[in-house]
Subunit: 532 residues, 2 copies
């Protein structure tokens, strides 16, 4: 074929010029002719490299500010022709095309030029690349004949391959893979941008859109972690490329790098205090469970902390503290009395930061105001299982006691209802089966992660007794219904006066009868809060 | 502008012809001229609709089997021209273009035509669409002027919008969003296909590739679930579009639809029995924790089940059973004696299936041989937290007691080591802090999900005592090191004779001294197994 006798042809059009000149000079020394456009052509020419401009190759006038210059049969025929078919090679002259052997293109930087600059959609679209992805996808499709290069980091490997006698198809496949992978991410970013521009209002019209037939997640690595849940596991923390806010975006004021388990505990901590907001509250988390939580509109930050700590001082050792109010000097002094892994709060006073600076390893995190809103409204919860992914909307139910139903003969006053709501807000965030005992807006006994509900209650009672808390007059929250009356009997035995639970068991009446026999208050929420 | 005086122009090229004729007839009645290609043009002409073929519009010969017919400035200028710029409109005639107002295109079905047919890469590439995505992306970029339609389900909405006096930009943005979202998924599918073709061997060369800077997940919804962890949460189960095997692919032989919590428990169940394989084993899961587990090379399926059940018969109520051996008639009869939610096993005999058929609600699942392999080698573990995603490689460490170190004066024999390995295999899959007591390859007491290790031990001991298990001579596994000697003292008190733990505490020596004082065996694995 006449075409094959010609010199090999490389089409080059890049936004990222790093390493370009050396690379192209090497191509020229390998006898390549260079086809190029606009800024790239000028850059190469300025450096003394001879290039043919695409518009003189296509013999098509450059119009529409260059929007269509590469969208031409002479370009795409050259890329897409199947060199193993003589028909294809014979037809190329009909469209003024030559075979193109190498396509070196990278995309307009939509993220930097549009997203990060906060451009409105009508301006952002100017940074959507049409010609680039098309040339790259075409070359990737025809990878056997036309090598696509989307990333300057690959220039050395490309040259090595081009110099090799028998070029490897594996390398070409890898380059083609990278094209589809990169464009895939590029379009996900643009889709996210459109989604945001459309706004959440119209998005949420149809609930099913949350859980569509195909769900694409494009995640940017925020940090590689030292290891995962255990040291023989690798791990990293990722963010949605469109998200801002949340724990990964919290400002780290001091301390060692966060570990996988820190992140997991921080997540649980944020859940607990978000559910207690707007009441000032703090919680201490160990192994994703709150071992001490307190809330108060009257107390200082220091006293709220001491109250939460007093719930279970032994378990708090090495824990994570989350606060929904600023940390001042007095609170900081109290916090440095014990060993903590991490403290997260909306604000730290300058004095507090100074005090903490003596504890080099303690991590201090300042979170933005978005933390709760995001958790509650936007984010789907993902969890991988063997061979699949469970995806669900978050448990964003609030404890609104005005909707609860009192089923016992004894009726609660508002103070008791508020205490029950406090206990349930914590219980919702304890691993199931969960029982939380509380008094005066402090947890005094928590039973978590048991296979049997009565065991969770026994653990909660034992903890409260061991720690010297007064059970008489305390309240109880259960994350799910009581399958039998045994929990109510056990609660009455130790002097608990009020119980909140979802209800819904076939044997609800047994539990209600038990409450009435013991003169207990029982309230049903109608809403289960399993968390695993 | 002369061009604007012309009739509106729609470019139509679709693989999915559903609803096409009615739609196009409506367009014609709205005065649209129709531009079309190949199969679509023929289909429309056959139905009596007048169309202009793209090649007569572009005046470019149809070559290369149609690979480049729409990759032409006359097409893309018509789509991309900014109608608000007179320069753009004036330049269109220079490239023989007219403004195109509507682009109706859907993509070659790569999934159906290439992936599901199992085509090799070199044939599959023929099903990669280049022209289609380019026209759609161009129209989506210029959505203000050119409306892209990628999905026949939108035809009615499109017609409604076209008939409206003042067309809404919101609708156009939504259509553009759908384009980028769909093409994003399309390219993810192709990228996955290339990744598979390249093969895992070359993929795994660099461990960091597991956790790349950008991670794209394209998930196909397998089932919409009735609800999530709780009834006020929506949920669905997804699969990687490239994955086969695992729990979502298990064959459901009978029973109600699986719930979110069933899937979570099944995942935990598969972990436990996978870690005990090849020894025949069964486990019963409640709230993601194993409440009873037994393994034996001598016993029948029935007796292994009864042994596991006997570990904690009360907690087993409503549990999930997983087995790594087939379920026969005798085992099925024993299993139907109690209320179980679900049974998963590699095989069920015909007699067993008959017996279970009397329990209509009981879910029976048959899993393929890939279940373990996939879990262990391939799948990254994802977990969303507030604003981000934790991603880690799985905890695939096996309990190889030949690598363990005996630190106590009393040394274990092989029988004891095997018992310790059994206990640790379970402990690894219990929520942290985890303590497992076992005897004769059966768990007899499990302490899970506590904030303090000694509490987990106390729970395990209490459970074992309540259930009448013999603690004397039992062994203990701990998922992490002992921070103090209290656990060892407590274990000795009840007659436990051997302990396995990772070691690694600053106070290891205290625990070792305690073991020696009590004449206990203590073995260290060097490997922690937190699970949250």
């Amino acid at each position: 074929m006449a075409n094959r006798a010609q010199r090999p042809l490389a089409l080059i059009s890049v936004t990222d010029k790093s390493g370009l000149i050396d690379f192209v000079k090497s191509l020229v020394s390998l006898n390549f002719e260079i086809l190029s456009t606009g800024g790239t052509a000028k850059h190469l020419t300025d450096m003394g490299i001879k290039v043919t401009d695409v518009s003189s190759y296509t013999e098509s006038p450059e119009v529409l500010d260059g929007r269509v210059k590469t969208l031409h049969p002479a370009v795409h025929g050259g890329i897409l022709a199947d060199r193993s078919l003589s028909s294809h090679l014979e037809q190329l002259p009909l469209i003024n095309a030559r075979v193109i052997d190498l396509v070196v293109v990278n995309l307009y930087d939509f993220k930097k030029d549009a997203k990060e600059k906060g451009l409105p959609l009508e301006k952002a679209i100017n940074h959507i690349d049409i010609g680039g992805p098309t040339m790259l996808r075409a070359a990737a499709k025809n990878y056997v004949h036309c090598l696509p290069v989307i990333d300057p980091v690959d220039y050395d490997d490309v040259l090595r391959e081009l110099k090799t006698e028998s070029q490897s198809l594996d390398f070409r496949k890898k380059m083609a893979f990278k094209v589809f992978q990169t464009i895939n991410q590029y379009d996900a970013l643009i889709a996210d941008f459109f989604r945001d521009a459309i706004g959440n209002a119209s998005q949420n019209k149809d609930a099913k859109e949350h859980l569509p037939e195909t769900l694409t997640l494009t995640l940017d690595r925020r940090n590689t972690l030292r290891y995962g849940e255990n040291s023989h596991q690798e791990a990293a923390i990722y963010e949605n490329s469109s998200s801002t806010g949340g724990i990964p975006s919290a400002t780290i004021l001091q301390g060692k790098e966060l570990s996988y388990n820190n992140y997991l505990d921080l997540d649980a901590a944020i859940d607990v205090i978000s559910d207690l907001t707007p009441t000032p509250a703090m919680t201490i988390i160990k192994h994703t469970n709150p071992c001490g939580t307190a809330a108060s509109s009257q107390l200082t930050a220091k006293d709220i902390f001491l109250k939460a700590l007093g719930a279970d001082p032994k378990s708090a050792f090495g824990g994570i503290v989350a606060s929904n109010i600023p940390i001042d000097e007095a609170a900081a002094l109290a916090m440095t009395e014990i060993f903590l892994e991490c403290i997260i709060a909306p604000e730290f006073s300058t004095e507090a930061v100074n005090i903490f600076s003596n504890k080099k390893n303690l991590r201090l995190l300042k979170y933005g105001s978005q933390t709760k809103a995001e958790r509650i409204r936007d984010q789907l919860q993902f969890r991988s299982i063997c061979g699949g992914y469970l995806v669900q909307t978050p448990d964003n139910a609030e404890q609104d006691f005005t909707t609860w139903q009192t089923v016992s003969k004894v009726k609660p006053n508002e103070q008791i209802l508020r205490e029950l709501a406090f206990a349930m807000s914590i219980c919702k965030n304890v691993k199931s089966n969960a029982i939380v005992l509380s008094a005066d807006h402090r947890s005094i006994g928590i039973g978590s992660g048991q296979m049997s509900r009565i065991d969770s209650l026994k653990i909660a009672i034992n903890k409260a007794s061991e720690l010297g808390h007064q059970l008489k007059g305390a309240v109880l929250a259960s994350d799910a219904f009581f399958p039998f009356r045994d929990c109510v009997d056990e609660a009455a035995k130790v002097g608990i006066t009020a119980i909140v639970q979802p209800g819904g068991s076939l044997r609800d009446q047994e539990s209600i009868d038990a409450a009435d026999e013991h003169g207990l208050i029982m309230v049903m929420t109608g809403r289960r809060h399993f968390k695993h």
